[in-house]
């Protein structure tokens, strides 16, 4: 046990303690229960006026004796510190119930603190330092720092538990004193004869639903059934009591720190009276008693009691000045009873720990996340389910979940849900999981690529309550359908999240203000701007690129190998990016792309902001639209401006969607060398043009192609007869629509030759 061979551990402990500058003396004591112990004398610096008295205003002496006992497991456990028995008790950070007061020296577990120091001596020294600090603070009652807030009573070692929403209890508090009764559930471990504070353990939870205290024939307010020989569960209540106001009408404030010392009903009544809750508690207990008149119930039933105590300052880590003091007491409605409390005022009452109920605020608090608008999940596959779980664990609401497929056994390789959900619809299964988090998402089981094109369905899939919708279907048709659904009326910000390259790559698209740029614009922009690096390699890899992103759809997915950890890692980052985007005001569109190294855990993430695309109606078509990336539009204007005396032009590169009737331009090719530029005419040459277009197509992973030409007009005239003729010639030469874009000093014009077959 000793750290030095042959050294008595007590002597060693004393010697090390004495190296601390505030440790001014001490002695080895006679072993107590076979355990070595020592006394150390601690100098306590305190204000000069108190020092002159040798004792502080709070009752701490300038020299305090402290006993250190070595536990059996020392040095695997920390020495235990005990103050003198008459040490003042009205401090926080004193262990409750300790007959000999024990200071709570460190935030957290003292053994853990002690063990973090490899050297036992260093650990002892630091504990003595914590003790010195504790005593100095105690001397000036500074253990509660008004800046930090009121330190709630130490309750962490209690075995009984009350699980309620603290905010709900605080919200019940009114200016006038009072009490309210909530429905609750209990779990009780221990035989019916066992008592609180002895062997019985209880856990009471309440969702804060108010209930009247009346007992009817079929009343289910109190029930109890045996879970096994030594455990029972059932319905019960929780009484929330708050203080009466002072006679002068001012709120009742309890400014004195009291350690938790309640052990009986008598103590509880006294404590309630001290904090102004005496009348309320009395009324609550009397009403419980009355509601049982003429009734009997064999099993003991634990009921919860919460005293809401108003403090002079806000509590630590809270904006509220209401401290909750929860207790449990058991009622026994025996037939020949005189009271529900068998032992009268001696009935045991156990102070309990308070567990915060699962609320959005709790999850936000633990996540350090702000309150965020609810999500509509489009796709509940492995990526979608994980994004949903990340969001809900951060306190975010999930308002709808949509997926038409069922959870199949192979999905379990990467899905967030467990095996019990196999064969259920994925959206239904996810919704069920979310119910446990207090959520009630609407389930949509239809085909998204179809239903998103129906405005009535869109209202269900992305309701007004959704602040954002995430498409994780990895489906091109759902992407286009979602873009078609993105009318100005749809307020939610739209996201698309997907993995590619066997999970080595991932991207997130977030559309801009007014859904411009759209997801289709963004993906085109991504193709056009991605350089030849790792992302391009993964994105355009024929084996695992975007063509294979349909994880979870179709039979091909069975062959897509990827570890759950890999998918989770990438999806977790996507989730954080969604949150980040939601926390910043929307102006531009956003592309986030991440790529992981092949052989190392490094992952590189990049964000691109994409300004709104410029749109031009295409003359000669039936409602087609040309969409120009801001980059391209600026380049066209700059090139036209650079040729003020002659017309100039070039080739436009991009994508075409027949379903959305859009031509999206994200790049330009320069005019070939044999092009002619005159004040009234621009003739696009042909030298090397074919191969340039082909190269560009290859470079973009065969996604982008030529979508038309552009040229400048020196004046503000629109298309000339020559332009219309050229358009007609182009249309005759190829099937895809070929657009003529004309830039004039004032604006863009776009035209296409009307197709003879009327296709536009």
């Amino acid at each position: 046990m000793a750290t030095e061979a042959g050294t008595d551990p007590a002597e060693h402990l004393l010697r090390v303690a004495l190296t601390h500058p505030e440790c001014v003396g001490g002695a080895v004591l006679d072993p107590e229960g076979g355990r070595p112990s020592i006394r150390i004398d601690m100098n306590v610096e305190m204000p000069l006026d108190m020092k002159a008295d040798g004792i502080s205003s709070s009752g701490v002496r300038t020299c305090e004796p402290v006993v250190l006992k070595l536990p059996a497991a020392y040095p695997w456990q920390s020495p235990r510190f005990y103050l003198r028995e008459d040490f003042p008790r009205n401090f926080p950070h004193l262990m409750p119930f300790a007959v000999t007061p024990r200071p709570c020296l460190v935030e957290g577990n003292q053994d853990e603190y002690f063990l973090q120091f490899g050297l036992v001596e260093y650990g002892i020294f630091h504990l003595v330092e914590q003790l010195a600090l504790w005593l100095r603070k105690a001397a000036i009652s500074d253990l509660i720092s008004s800046e930090q807030g009121w330190e709630p009573m130490l309750r962490r070692d209690f075995r009984d538990i009350l699980e309620i929403d603290a905010d709900a209890a605080r919200n019940a508090v009114t200016k006038n004193g009072g009490w309210v009764v909530w429905q609750g559930r209990f779990f009780r471990r221990g035989t019916p004869e066992a008592c609180l504070n002895d062997v019985t353990e209880t856990w009471i939870s309440s969702k804060g639903v108010q209930t009247p205290l009346t007992q009817k024939a079929d009343d289910k307010t109190f029930t109890s059934r045996r879970a096994d020989l030594a455990a029972s569960l059932g319905n019960t209540l929780v009484g929330v009591v708050w203080p009466d106001k002072n006679p002068d009408g001012a709120p009742r404030i309890s400014a004195t720190y009291l350690p938790e010392s309640v052990a009986t009903l008598r103590d509880l009544r006294a404590r309630a009276a001290e904090v102004g809750c005496g009348r309320g508690l009395q009324a609550f207990l009397a009403n419980v008693e009355r509601s049982f008149t003429g009734m009997s119930l064999l099993a003991p039933i634990p009921i919860g009691i919460v005293l809401c105590v108003r403090r002079p300052i806000h509590l630590i880590d809270s904006t509220s000045d209401i401290e909750l003091l929860p207790y449990v007491v058991e009622i026994r409605a025996n037939q020949n009873r005189t009271s529900l409390f068998a032992l009268g005022d001696d009935e045991p009452v156990a102070p309990t720990m308070h567990y915060q109920s699962l609320t959005a605020a709790l999850l936000q608090g633990l996540s350090g996340a702000p309150a965020r608008a609810g999500l509509a999940m489009l796709g509940c596959g492995s990526v979608g389910s994980k994004l949903a779980m990340h969001a809900v664990r951060g306190g975010q609401d999930i308002v709808t979940v949509s997926d038409e497929s069922s959870l199949r056994p192979h999905n379990l390789a990467r899905h967030a849900l467990g095996a019990e959900h196999v064969s259920s619809n994925k959206a239904e299964a996810l919704a069920m999981e979310l119910v446990g988090f207090g959520k009630a998402p609407t389930v949509h089981k239809g085909d998204l690529s179809h239903d998103l094109r129906d405005p009535e369905h869109v209202k269900q899939i992305i309701p007004k309550t959704a602040g954002a919708a995430i498409n994780s279907t990895a489906s091109l048709s759902v992407r286009e359908a979602l873009v078609s659904a993105a009318t100005p009326r749809l307020r939610a910000r739209l996201f698309e999240a997907a993995l590619f390259g066997r999970g080595r790559g991932a991207f997130l698209l977030a559309d801009g203000k007014g859904h411009n740029p759209s997801h289709c614009d963004l993906i085109a922009e991504l193709y056009a701007t991605i350089d030849g690096g790792r992302a391009a390699e993964l994105l355009f890899d024929p084996a695992g690129g975007l063509t294979e992103i349909q994880i979870g759809q179709g039979c091909g997915s069975l062959t897509m190998t990827m570890e759950d950890a890999r998918l989770s890692g990438m999806t977790a980052s996507l989730s954080q990016e969604v949150s980040r985007a939601l926390d910043t005001p929307v102006q531009q569109g956003l592309i986030v792309i991440g790529t992981a190294d092949e052989d190392s855990p490094s992952t590189c993430w990049t964000r691109y902001n994409v300004p709104a695309f410029e749109t031009v109606s295409i003359a000669g078509s039936d409602g087609w639209q040309l969409r120009l990336s801001r980059r391209v539009a600026d380049r066209i204007r700059a090139e036209a401006k650079a040729c003020p005396s002659v017309e100039t032009g070039g080739v436009m590169i991009g994508l075409t969607s027949a379903r959305l009737k859009t031509v999206t331009v994200v790049d330009l090719l320069e005019a070939p060398a044999d092009s002619r530029r005159t004040p009234a005419l621009f003739v696009l040459g042909t030298d090397g043009l074919q191969s340039a277009i082909r190269n560009r197509h290859e470079q973009s992973g065969r996604t982008l192609f030529d979508v038309g030409t552009w040229h400048s007009h020196l004046g503000d005239e629109g298309p000339s007869s020559t332009d219309w003729k050229t358009a007609a010639d182009l249309a005759a030469e190829r099937t895809p629509p070929s657009i003529l874009l004309i830039t004039t000093p004032a604006r863009f014009h776009a035209l296409v030759s009307p197709r003879k077959d009327g296709d536009g």
């Binding site: 500058p21 000069l48 973090q116 100095r136």
Partner: protein
């Protein structure tokens, strides 16, 4: 910000930093011995300590909000030119990295010419020159002066040289409440001396050179609460000054002299308490009752701090063991309420510091981390990152 008073270990000399609870800092006197600037010497490196306690302004300059010079003796001003920027603030050089004095607090002695009775060391001359520069600037620009050009004069000049600049003069018995033009209630300083010109020539003669020592009684706010600490500091003021102060205030405003912390005048010299030479009279030397009364207006738990070398009965005065015993008798006979700055250095290797909070005045304890290194012979903290499950 926690208000505090720090006494630096400078042997027989004064160097005290008052930090107010708005984080403004006032340095009272300076005594940086040559050896203190020598890394190879054991003399405490008080300048490194001081600099570590100061902050830099937006131009990267270390600064004190104020510098009070009690009187221009070497043991109160030594090191000024080496460590502090003198001259227009715009001339401050990064390479020199000297400390900017935002506002000087000077006695009017700077207006007096050097004479046989008024010999000045180089640093004192530099102080006087800088003070005159600032006064001239005030005459020219009035209150438009910037930080680094400002000055307040503690007391009126006897020859009327301050008559035209009374707005920056604190008169005897008056109070100073602004530091670098900031008046936020963090302190109030009662100017008790220098005492204005007296018709009593004999007395003036007797008061001699230390006539010019500034005696200030600060009332300092702690943790937002006024008057949590009273600090009486009087440079090298001698028995005649204290006797006169008691005569002047003892009957009606003795409270002006009351303190929680007294800086024993003249490094615990016997001559602040008695007219009798201790070397001549030994234990028969008599304490001047009036002077003692002036120095005995203690508040509960008050302490006396001797900014001196270690007190040895066999060594020459100051510091005086006889004076020490007298001060102990003043603080209720409690020897632990008389603290010699040199002893603190000897025991703890650090400056003596008291924090002033809403609870009162508390001695700052020795840094345990430093103690651990010394006591256990090991280095930095062994704390490991602790995972959360």
């Amino acid at each position: 910000m926690t208000a505090s008073i720090t006494f630096f270990p400078v042997g027989n000399g004064d160097m005290t930093l008052i930090t107010f609870d708005n984080d403004q800092k006032l340095l009272v006197d300076l005594h940086v011995r040559k050896a203190a600037d020598n890394d190879d010497d054991d003399t405490p490196d008080v300048m490194a300590d001081l600099r570590g306690r100061l902050t830099r302004d937006e131009k990267g300059r270390l600064f004190v909000d104020g510098f009070l010079l009690s009187h221009p003796d070497k043991d109160h001003i030594c090191g000024l030119a080496t460590h502090f920027h003198l001259g227009p603030p715009d001339d401050w050089k990064k390479g020199d990295d000297k400390i900017l004095i935002r506002e000087m607090w000077s006695s009017p002695v700077v207006f007096r010419r050097a004479s046989k009775d008024h010999v000045l060391c180089d640093d004192a001359k530099a102080w006087a020159k800088e003070a005159r520069r600032r006064v001239a600037l005030y005459r020219e620009k009035g209150t438009a002066t910037v930080e680094g050009d400002r000055i307040q004069i503690m007391g009126e000049d006897e020859d009327g040289k301050t008559d035209d600049i009374l707005a920056i003069v604190v008169k005897a018995d008056g109070v100073v409440t602004k530091l670098n033009r900031v008046a936020s209630g963090t302190f109030e300083g009662r100017l008790l001396a220098p005492i204005p010109h007296s018709d009593d020539e004999e007395l003036d003669e007797l008061l001699g050179k230390n006539h010019s020592s500034v005696v200030l009684r600060f009332s300092i706010r702690g943790g937002g609460i006024l008057d949590k600490c009273r600090f009486l500091t009087g440079g090298d003021a001698e028995v005649a000054i204290w006797e006169r102060l008691w005569g002047k205030h003892g009957t009606y405003q003795a409270d002006w002299l009351s303190y929680d912390i007294l800086q024993a005048p003249h490094h615990c010299s016997w001559h602040s308490l008695s007219y009798d030479s201790y070397s001549t009279y030994g234990e028969d030397a008599e304490v001047c009752d009036a002077a003692r009364s002036a120095l005995a207006q203690i508040r509960k738990g008050a302490i006396v701090v001797a900014s001196s070398k270690a007190i040895d009965p066999d060594e020459a005065d100051p510091p005086s063991d006889r004076a020490k015993r007298e001060y102990i008798s003043i603080v209720d006979g409690k020897s632990d309420r008389f603290i010699c700055v040199a002893d603190v250095w000897e025991d703890e290797e650090r400056a003596l510091q008291y924090e002033i909070t809403s609870s009162g005045i508390t001695k700052v304890v020795k840094s345990a981390a430093k103690a651990a290194v010394a006591a256990l012979g090991i280095g930095a903290t062994a704390a490991q990152a602790r995972p959360h499950g």
